[in-house]
Symmetry: C2
Subunit: 520 residues, 2 copies
Amino acid sequence: MAGVWLLLVLFLLGSAEAGKLLVIPSDGSHWLGMKPIVEELGRRGNQVVVVIPEASLSMGPSQNTTTLTYPVNYTKAELEAGLADTINTLLSVDISTDLAKFQTFIISLDILQSVIVRNTEGLLFNRDLMNELQDYSFDAILTDPFEPTGAIAGEYLSIPAIYMQINHPCGVDALASQCPVPASYVPQPLTHFTDHMNLWQRSVNLVRTLLQPMACRHLFTHADEIASRALQRKTSMVEIMSRAALWFMRFDFALEFPRPVMPNMVMIGATVSQKPKPLAKELEEFANGSAEHGFVVFTLGSMVSQLPEAKAREFFEAFRQIPQRVLWRYTGPVPENAPKNVKLMKWLPQNDLLGHPKVKAFITHGGSHGIYEGICNGVPMVMLPLFGDQGDNAQRLVARGVAEALSIFDVTSEKLLVALRKVLNDKSYKEKMSELSAIHRDRPIEPLDLAVFWTEFVMRHKGADHLRSAAHELNWIQYHSLDVIGFLILILVTVIFVTVKSCMFCFRKCFRKTQKKKEE
Amino acid sequence: MAGVWLLLVLFLLGSAEAGKLLVIPSDGSHWLGMKPIVEELGRRGNQVVVVIPEASLSMGPSQNTTTLTYPVNYTKAELEAGLADTINTLLSVDISTDLAKFQTFIISLDILQSVIVRNTEGLLFNRDLMNELQDYSFDAILTDPFEPTGAIAGEYLSIPAIYMQINHPCGVDALASQCPVPASYVPQPLTHFTDHMNLWQRSVNLVRTLLQPMACRHLFTHADEIASRALQRKTSMVEIMSRAALWFMRFDFALEFPRPVMPNMVMIGATVSQKPKPLAKELEEFANGSAEHGFVVFTLGSMVSQLPEAKAREFFEAFRQIPQRVLWRYTGPVPENAPKNVKLMKWLPQNDLLGHPKVKAFITHGGSHGIYEGICNGVPMVMLPLFGDQGDNAQRLVARGVAEALSIFDVTSEKLLVALRKVLNDKSYKEKMSELSAIHRDRPIEPLDLAVFWTEFVMRHKGADHLRSAAHELNWIQYHSLDVIGFLILILVTVIFVTVKSCMFCFRKCFRKTQKKKEE
């Protein structure tokens, strides 16, 4: 009897026709953004199978889903060590000039080239697992284009693919969906430009825009080769991704600069923003401790919990000089005379703290989850971008007047104090952030529901062909109308030639007649 | 006491913060699409003021709104006569060639030039009414860019504007919102092309795309002059409309070919599709009369209820030869031996008939409301486009394999029979239409709710600046990066020049030395 009730509840919870979904996520914050969608799809009665490597930073079983793992040739410890190495490499570069930013961009592509394919062979050439996946007869795949594994697997299994992504380094979303990216006002990733660029910036941006296809070819060098091997035909990741049913864009225009989008792009914004919960008693007491001055939350994200000692000292010195209390996620060495208004924690409930009425500012590296939590709760920020899309994120918030940005490379306690005092004391930061927050939260449908709807849509209709533009059937010359321009020039030249020849012919006839007459 | 309850009900129905909305609609089917939104906004407790001319084809008071009228220098009869004239002019042209289509496009612009401003001076220079509107302190205006009256009034009152439109003849939505329109796969209005064009069609389309700004200037010749006079500064309609808060696009991609869109475009699809109601008894009996053969619905829209006698005869002859019954909205002369399976009506409940289980086909002119009702109910069509966007609509449905199109100019009973039998007997039309219908009806939020949400959003936030692209702050040269290209060429030339000069200098030095040595 209980079984009947359970079935009824499941039926009521779920949609009438449940689908079968394959999920191949990417690690770290990427999984953090995808997990709530995957769990909700499972809760609604869909059969959701998540395939992950045996070793990973943060991926693991999720609720209402089946998790399958496959062996890989690395351990979690190696992964963490590799990541720390990468971060150190990137942090040791001063990227204050456009050339340095470009060099960092190239370095990032070089590093990512191998990182993104570390799981690909482990899954694709795992015969048993691939056969098992084939037997499921999935209706669709939800995957992250950051790692090519899912895209190639989806193509191998011939199922419609949904790509969920944010700020791809070579902009594969725009390239593969043939989305126009006017270089004059759409800043390219890792340029740290806004949508208002001067002549120099627009020049750099145009060059970067023109180089994006090459950057993608470079980034996917290994991936293209593996894909061609797995699918037994010459192919490329951009070509595979051009067959995307949908692109879930994990941003909204409260943060992102307005730019053209394609019909198969769904702006699902930040999917993980949740209602803040009350703080634990001890934390609540500390947060309330400095009365009207409130407190500041400081974290550099899940990947960076330490800082070089000298750098950490700059922060302690700055915090000593403000009346606010500071909650800092930090596991490094603590100086003897550390100021009393600072509480160091191994982990902090970021969203709950940002939702506290007494929070005054948020010092952050500018990871996409953190900044959306900051925007959602209306907290002005001091930003210390470290790598990846964080510099671009920082620039977007600075452009909106809701944040100050500093370089982690040369930050000092003075610089930090200036920025912090601005954000804490100049009311415009809080006012503009409240407006931005209101806009961000005011939406016709919640991001999670939107993502769930469109995933189920693709499963119901076996794709979303009606949203795929005909641009995909044109080659580069045709897309840019170069053949048409040639054709029109040919017509024009022919018309001019015929006209001139006719005129000359008439002129000669007339001229001869006149001459003959004269001769007569 | 009843008043208190009424207030409570109104409060519960409406949103927490009601806004003040000015609505300046356009006549005919344009008003048909806007009315449900306006009424729903009023029902939710917003103060909605609709301003219309004293004489109009179909506009009148709507529920839950205040209607204000202003005198104009024409009567409804004159309006109807003028419209009949226009339709006859357009119907008398054979538009089977691309040149003829282009000529018709120019003729349409010429005709529309004066038609669209017929109300503009009547409202804008009506001091009392404009003062009254100023006193309302509206939060926003909802208007139709087809007639410039609303756009100019909104600009005069300095309130955020929402433009609701479908298939504007010179594509002012794309021009004014700076939306990219790649000529290689986005067919221009009135070309009747699909998104798959051959070289010739792409050439015509490119020329049309390049001419669109000129077409808009031509269309708005009178409007620009009136706007400059009313606002007391030199301006143009495209410039005014470039400040749009939002564009409501009254189409969805079940019908429209996928193409780039801007963040401030909201695809609200068809807003008037309603659930079909049961038919009146007599009509139900007729509809059921031919058993499994079912029936065909035939209407050429609200503007054309008659046909020349010879043309009408072709239709009667065709209908005589099919086993289906035909319901025809027709008020013209009836031949003596009219077939018995045809029922002529002055007006027919189109949506209810299209929702009837026995309906087999829909013969239509391809007006946007009719085709969305057809799509919504999954009825394959035979299309007889008359003018305006109808030819483009027909082509879109033909391209999807759910309709056949004929030219009203040279339609015969034979041609009609061939098309009708195809649609009735070839199952693929019905199958594809059912798929299209399923896609069209499967949406995360109803179009009406979406339109209401975004209108209230603009009222709440005094605009939607965060969705406005920075392209608006660039001139034509900057937008297309021409200055950047010039700048980059200059750098390149300078580098080449300096390199060549340096090489020559070195070469000369070396050469001289060698020469000197030789001389020594």
